[in-house]
């Protein structure tokens, strides 16, 4: 039951991330290489999440890997980590985009202003 709650809480975040990636790619804001990397990354997170229950069943009872069952606190913690990862990743992309645009603007302004100055002098 707790594993189901974990999946139900986190699947919307992952789907949102996937939707963002596809939209960015379709709008040509993201190169194909980045698109595939991001896609792969979130699919891995989804696979790990879905696979956590069968993996737990598999390792339970084995001395080195044995652990207690998922607690409510674990669910909150894992969900928070995935949500924070989503936010960090999204913000980093936005900052890089803004940085690039600012640099392009600075470049273009410097060239234009210097051209005007050269014409005047």
């Amino acid at each position: 039951m707790r594993y189901l709650v974990l999946i139900l809480l986190n699947t919307p975040i992952i789907l949102l991330a996937l939707l963002n990636i596809v939209t960015q790619y379709r709008m040509h804001h993201m190169p194909r290489r980045w698109f595939y990397r991001q896609l792969l990354l979130w699919i891995i997170i989804l696979a790990v999440l879905i696979g956590s229950f069968p993996v737990y069943n598999l390792v339970i009872g084995r001395p080195v890997l044995d652990s207690i069952d998922l607690s409510a606190f674990d669910i909150v913690e894992i969900t928070a980590v995935i949500f924070l990862f989503y936010i960090i990743n999204d913000q980093r992309r936005k900052i890089e985009h803004a940085e690039r645009r600012l640099r392009d603007l600075h470049q273009e302004l410097s060239i234009q202003l210097s051209s005007n100055k050269n014409k005047l002098s």
Partner: protein
């Protein structure tokens, strides 16, 4: 050989003492060749008379509104060369470390070998270079290879020749000195043809005082690792 329109880009920050001499020697070296040359000095927010000195020496001057670092200044210069439709562009240091004859040689070699990015390597023949500098530059070239998988003998060289295709397509994200390595990486990703040729480096007391020290090398290393790691999630 075809008469080419060549744009020599010189990113400069507080180089008022030497910039005139660098421009004049570059102009006289290109006079002997058949190419049409324009020298573009990108004044990266200098606090001295770099801009005025470059204008007096007959260069086209682009004044950066903000100090952006060597990578940013080089990007502006190459963007200008791209917009104005030059056949080939070259970058060289403003501190007089490079001989203009090497730039002329590089332009010819780049054209003949049909290369997109030709790097002037100080380490193919490292005579005159201090051991510390040789070691530091070899170390950064090794780091460039380990992080980006591109093998060059001198990844930090400022003397580079760019084809028309490189001017149109080559872009990078870092703005400090680490752009030298990132540029090679991006060129490799784009499938540009990269080559090297030996150049001579002239170390005067002035260029030694302006050059990169060990702390700069550590800073470059740190930024390169950061760039490589952040790209894993892109």
């Amino acid at each position: 050989m075809k008469r080419l329109r060549v744009c020599v880009v010189i990113p400069a920050y507080n180089e008022g003492r030497v910039i005139r001499g660098v421009i004049r020697t570059a102009k006289s070296a290109f006079k002997k060749s058949s190419h049409e040359i324009d020298i573009v000095v990108v004044n990266d927010g200098s606090k001295d008379d770099t801009s005025a000195g470059a204008v007096k020496a007959g260069a086209i001057v682009i004044d950066h509104i903000l100090n952006s670092g060597a990578g940013g200044a080089t990007a502006t210069g190459l963007s200008y060369a791209n917009q104005r439709g030059y056949d080939i562009a070259a970058t060289m240091d403003a501190d007089g470390q490079h001989t203009p004859e090497d730039v002329v040689k590089g332009v010819a070699e780049s054209y003949e070998r049909k290369l997109d990015l030709l790097i002037g390597s100080r380490l193919i023949d490292s005579q005159g270079m201090s051991r510390v500098k040789v070691l530091g530059n070899k170390g950064l070239s090794l780091v460039t290879y380990l992080l980006f998988g591109v093998n060059t003998t001198d990844s930090q060289s400022g003397l580079r020749i760019y084809s028309r295709r490189a001017l149109e397509e080559l872009r990078w994200k870092t703005s400090g000195y680490e752009f030298c390595s990132e540029m090679i990486w991006r060129a490799n990703q784009l499938g540009l043809k990269i080559g090297e040729y030996p150049i001579q480096a002239i170390y005067t007391d002035y260029s030694k005082s302006k050059g990169q020290n060990n702390w700069n090398a550590i800073n470059i290393l740190k930024n390169l690792v950061k760039r490589r790691l952040s790209e894993i999630f892109e």
